[in-house]
Symmetry: D2
Subunit: 344 residues, 4 copies
Amino acid sequence: MVIIMNPDATTKNIEDVIAVIESTGLTAKVMEGVQQRIVGVIGDKTRLAACAIDAMPGVEQSVAISKSYKLVSREFHPHSSIIDVDGVRIGGDEFVVMAGPCAVESREQLLEAAEIAKQGGAQFLRGGAYKPRTSPYSFQGLEEEGLKYLAEAREKTGLRIVTEVTEVDAVDTVARYADLLQIGARNMQNFRLLKEVGRTEKPVLLKRGLAATLDEWLNAAEYILNEGNPNVIFCERGIRSYETYTRNTLDLSAVAAVKHLSHLPIIVDPSHGTGKWRLVKPMALAAVAAGADGLIMEMHPNPAKALSDGPQSLTPENYNDLMRDVKKLAKFMRDEGIHSIDLA
Amino acid sequence: MVIIMNPDATTKNIEDVIAVIESTGLTAKVMEGVQQRIVGVIGDKTRLAACAIDAMPGVEQSVAISKSYKLVSREFHPHSSIIDVDGVRIGGDEFVVMAGPCAVESREQLLEAAEIAKQGGAQFLRGGAYKPRTSPYSFQGLEEEGLKYLAEAREKTGLRIVTEVTEVDAVDTVARYADLLQIGARNMQNFRLLKEVGRTEKPVLLKRGLAATLDEWLNAAEYILNEGNPNVIFCERGIRSYETYTRNTLDLSAVAAVKHLSHLPIIVDPSHGTGKWRLVKPMALAAVAAGADGLIMEMHPNPAKALSDGPQSLTPENYNDLMRDVKKLAKFMRDEGIHSIDLA
Amino acid sequence: MVIIMNPDATTKNIEDVIAVIESTGLTAKVMEGVQQRIVGVIGDKTRLAACAIDAMPGVEQSVAISKSYKLVSREFHPHSSIIDVDGVRIGGDEFVVMAGPCAVESREQLLEAAEIAKQGGAQFLRGGAYKPRTSPYSFQGLEEEGLKYLAEAREKTGLRIVTEVTEVDAVDTVARYADLLQIGARNMQNFRLLKEVGRTEKPVLLKRGLAATLDEWLNAAEYILNEGNPNVIFCERGIRSYETYTRNTLDLSAVAAVKHLSHLPIIVDPSHGTGKWRLVKPMALAAVAAGADGLIMEMHPNPAKALSDGPQSLTPENYNDLMRDVKKLAKFMRDEGIHSIDLA
Amino acid sequence: MVIIMNPDATTKNIEDVIAVIESTGLTAKVMEGVQQRIVGVIGDKTRLAACAIDAMPGVEQSVAISKSYKLVSREFHPHSSIIDVDGVRIGGDEFVVMAGPCAVESREQLLEAAEIAKQGGAQFLRGGAYKPRTSPYSFQGLEEEGLKYLAEAREKTGLRIVTEVTEVDAVDTVARYADLLQIGARNMQNFRLLKEVGRTEKPVLLKRGLAATLDEWLNAAEYILNEGNPNVIFCERGIRSYETYTRNTLDLSAVAAVKHLSHLPIIVDPSHGTGKWRLVKPMALAAVAAGADGLIMEMHPNPAKALSDGPQSLTPENYNDLMRDVKKLAKFMRDEGIHSIDLA
C-alpha cells in the first residue's frame, strides 16, 4: 500500500500515519516528492484492511498495490493447473465443450438435448435444475427431479454433468448428481455458498459476477481454495456495460488476463455473453483463439419453445455447425503450437 | 410484448410466430408498417417468458413493455406505504436516520458509537455482525456475539437495530436481535435468502445490487412480498460505473424513480454510495432534497482504526455537523410542503 | 508515479527502470517490500508521460499518483473562483438558473420561452442554435438565425444567453451573440475547440463528457485555462451507465468532488441527467442541496411539440413549480449557512 | 415507434396522442391489452424525432423500433462492401494489418518502425501526427512534419498510410499524405468533422467512441455516407466499462454484430482495446476468429521510450511473433471456409 499525502499535510500528520501503520506491526517508509510526500507500507498486506488510513488528516488517498488472493495466484503456483473432472482434463491440451439447455424442462427435452450434445462432440451436458430468475413468477426449475434426469442422461450418453447450485442447503444434493458444480454469476459473492462448495470434493465452475472485477473474481475463487478444494475453473460469461444490443459484453480479454494472474483454467460462455444466438458462433471461435480451455453453451432441441433463455440458444443445426468449426480450430491451434499467451 | 419482424420476414414466419403466441393462450395482433411488420401480444405477460420468440425465423427482436412485478408496483397499490419498525414509521412525514459503524468490532466500540448516534439524533443503530468481504482474509464479523452487543446497545439507548443477514441459516438468529433485516448489495439476487426473509415478520431493508437495474431491484422486492412480508424498504447505495474517483456512483434519481414505480419507501446510503467521507454530507443533504425517506450512514468513534470501510466513515464531529444540517433541511422541506415528486 | 515490479523481477530489471527514469531528469527511489519491490519516481510528472515503463521487463504496473492539471486545481488556487457573466456572478452566494428550450425552433417559440424563463426567475436563457444529433436526419438547428433570435430575446428580457458552440469555425459567430459559450458533452475532448474557446474572452460552460472521468473533465478545462481564459464553469449532466431507465445517471457526487479538486464553479443539468421530466424537479432540488452553484434546464412552451428532447423538457407549469421550490431551498441553504462541503 | 400508455390513461389522452402523430402525416393504430393500451406508429420514422410524445399526459414511455441509419444498413445494401485503399481491398478475402507507433516521434523512429511493419507482413503503416491527449501538457504530435515522414515511409516501403485527422482545418492536409483517414474515438460524434471527411474521396477508418452504442456508431458512419463518401471501415477499439484491469473492454461481439447490421467492413484495435501489450496477441487472434477484416496495432521499435501509449505497444519481437500466428490463422480460416457469421 502506498499512501499519498495532501500537498499541505503537516509533519505531524505524517507522523500520525506512520504511528498507525507501525501499530499493526508493519513498516512505513516516507518518500519526499516535489509536490507531495508518499508513505509506503511494507509487510503482510492482509493486515492493512484493518487500517482506515484514508480518513486520517493530511491523507489524500491510499493505493493498494499488492493482491489479496494467494492460492489462486500464478505467483504462488507458476504452472498451469489441470482440473480432472471424472477423467476429462480441463486446462490441458484438450478443448472442452459443455452444451445443453438453459433449464431442464422435461425428461424428453433433456434426453434429446443430451443426445444432440453428445453427437456434436461435447464432453459435458449442461442444464439448470435450480434456476435463479429475476422475477418470482418465472419458471424456477425442476429441482431434484431435474437432477435425476441429468443423471439419467449421463448414464445414456457418458457425458459429464455440470449444473448450478444456488443455495447452501442444496449443495449435498447437487453434488450427488453432478460432476461439476456451477456457481452462477449472481452468486459469485455469495461467500457462504463459496465456502460450502469449497468443503466438497467436487470441481467447481465459477462464473464471473454480473459486474465483477477480475480482482473480485479471483478473490471469490480464493474462498473456495481456502476451504480445501483446489479444483476451480473460471467461466467468463460477459459483464454488464452500457451497451444494450448484447445482453452482456463478453470480455474475452479476461481469458488471457486470468491466465496471466492465475494458474487455474478458464472457459467461456458465449450464450450468456451475448444473449443472441447469431453471435454465439463468432464468439465461440474467438474464445478458442484467445486461448480459452473450453466453452459452455446453450443448445435446445427447439429454442422457440425454451422455458428460459431461448433467444441465446442454438438450434441443433447451429450447434453442429459451430462444433465442426470449433473442433477444427482448436485442433489447428494445438497442432500449430499457437499460444495466445506465454505461460510457465 | 411487441415482436418486431425482419423487413424480409415471410408471411409463413409471421404465421408461425402467431401460432406460438396463441399456443400459450395469448392473443396476437399484427400491425403493418412501411418498413416492417410488428406483432403485438395481449394478455398476462408472465406466460410470455416461456416463449423464446426471438430465436424464430424472421424475428428481429422482441421488446418487453409491461412490468413483471406487481405487489411492489404503485399501479397495484397507489398510496405510499409506511413501514412501521417497532414504532418508527418509515415512508411518512418523519425523516429517519440509521447510523453506526460498518462492522461491530467490540462491545466498547459499539456502545460508544450507539451513544454518539443517539445523541446526534438517529433513530436506528447500524452495525454489521456478519460481513461479506471480497477477500477471505479480511475481517468477517463477530457473528452472534456482535448481535448481542447490538441488542445491548438497544437496551441502553432505545435505538432500533438494523443489521445485515447474509445467509439463510442465520435469518432466525438475526431476526431475534434485529428490528430491521438488511439484505446487502451482493445478496440482492440471492433469491433463496429473499424468500427466507419474506417468510419472517421483520421489516427488510433491501439494498440495490452493485449493478442492478431498477427493474431487477423491484423484482427482488417482489420475491419478499410474494412470500407474505409486505414490509420492504429500498436502499440506494450507489451503482458500479466506469468512474473510480468514488467507490460507487450514487444514483439519486433512483429515489424519485422508485417512488414513481413503487409504493414502498426508499432511503439512501451516502457512505457506500461515495466511499469518501468528504462526500457523505453533500450527498446526505441531496438525498433529503431528492425526497428520500431516510439515510443510513457509517459513523465510527475512530475511523482511522475501523476494521473495515474506514475511508467512508464519519468521525463523531462530522456526524454531528451533518445531522444538524440534515435535520434542519428535512424540517424545512416538510414545513414548506416541498415535494420533490407528486404522488398519490 | 509508483512502479510496481513483478515478484520475480531481477536486479538488472530494476536498474534498467531506474536508468530510464533518470534519463528524463527525474529521481527514482527503490522501496523493498516483503513480496515485491516498488520504485517511486520524484519530480515533475508531466515528463513521465514520455516513459512507457509498463512495457519494460520485470514491471507489473505503474500507478500515477499526482494530477496532470494545475491551473484548474484547488491546490494551485485555494479560494473558490467566481465567474462574472455580464454582471451575473456564478460561484458565489447567488444560485443561478439557466432555462429554455433544447433547440431554438422559431422566433415565436423562443420569445415565448424567454418570457416564461424570465417570469419564473431564471437569469439565463438557454437554447441550441447548433445541435449535435446522433442521426444526420434529425433537426440540426437554425444556426445563425437561431443566434439572432437569442439576441432578440436578451434585448426583450434582460436574460443572459448561453448556447452551444460545436465547431471551431463558429466560435467567433457564437461569441458575438452569446454571453456564455457552452461546450457540449460530445465535444468535451474536442481539444481544438477547447483551445479555440480558450482564446476568446467569453466565459465557457464545460459539460462533462458522456463517459468522462473527473480527471479527464478537469484536464479538458485545463486546455481552456492554458490558453488564457480563466472563466470556466463545469456542468454535470449525467454519465453513461448500464441503467437504461434514465437517459443518463446524474452523478451528483461530482458536485462536491469537483469543488474539492478545483476552484471553479459547477452547475447541474437535471434534464439531460435524467431524460425524464418527472425526475427533473427532485434532481434540481438535490443539486441545490449538494452545493451546486446553479442549474441548467430544458423548458418548452409546449414540450409535446418540441423538435428535440421533448421527454425531458418541463412544461411552463412544471417549471414555475420547480423554480418556486428551488428558490426557497437555495435561500434557506444560504440563510442557514448550510455548507455541503468545507472549502477555503 | 410504439407508445405505451399508463394503465390509467384516459380515452382523451389516447386521442391527443393520435392527433399529434397524425399531425405529422403518420398513421396511428391502437392495440388494447389487458393491462394497458399501446399506440403503434406507422410511416417514415425520421419525422418522429419531431414529436415529444413521452411528455404527453397518459404516456408511460415510447419505444423506438426502427433504425435511423439507412445507407450503412445491410437491409439497404445486402452484399458486403469491399473498400479499396489504393489497391488493398478491405472487407474481402484478404486479412489486412495496420501496424506502427502510436505517435510519429521522429524520422528515424518512423522509418525504423515502417521497415519492421513491412517485414512482418503488414499492409499499412499507422502513426499519429496529430495526437488528441487528455492533458494539454502531454506530447501533441509533430503535425505536418509527421505527415511528411509518413509519406517518406510509404515511398520506402510501399505500405499504405493510415493516420488520424482531428480537426476540420486539417482534413485537406492529412488527405494529401494519407491513404486512409482515421477518425479517433473522441471524435466519433464530432459531426462537423464527419461531414468534412464525407466530402473527401479518401476512405475513412471510423473508430468506435469511448462509450458509443452500436446504434450511435452506425449513425456516425451514416453522416459520412450521407455526404457522398461510401468508403467507411469501422474499427472496434474497446469500450469504457467498470473494469480497470484493462484500459478498455474490447467488445469483440461488435465485429459480428456490425457485420449483421451493416455491409461495411470492420477491423479491431487490440492495443487500445486492452492497454496491455500482454493481451494484444490473444485479442488479435480472437479478432481473426471472430471474423474481423483486419487489425490495427501499436508497434514501436523501443516501447519503453515511446512518447505515448508505450504499455500497449508491441516490441518488434512480439510483433513478429504475433504476425506469424495471425497470418497462419487467417489463412486457415479462409482455406477451411470457416465463417463466423452467415452473410449474404
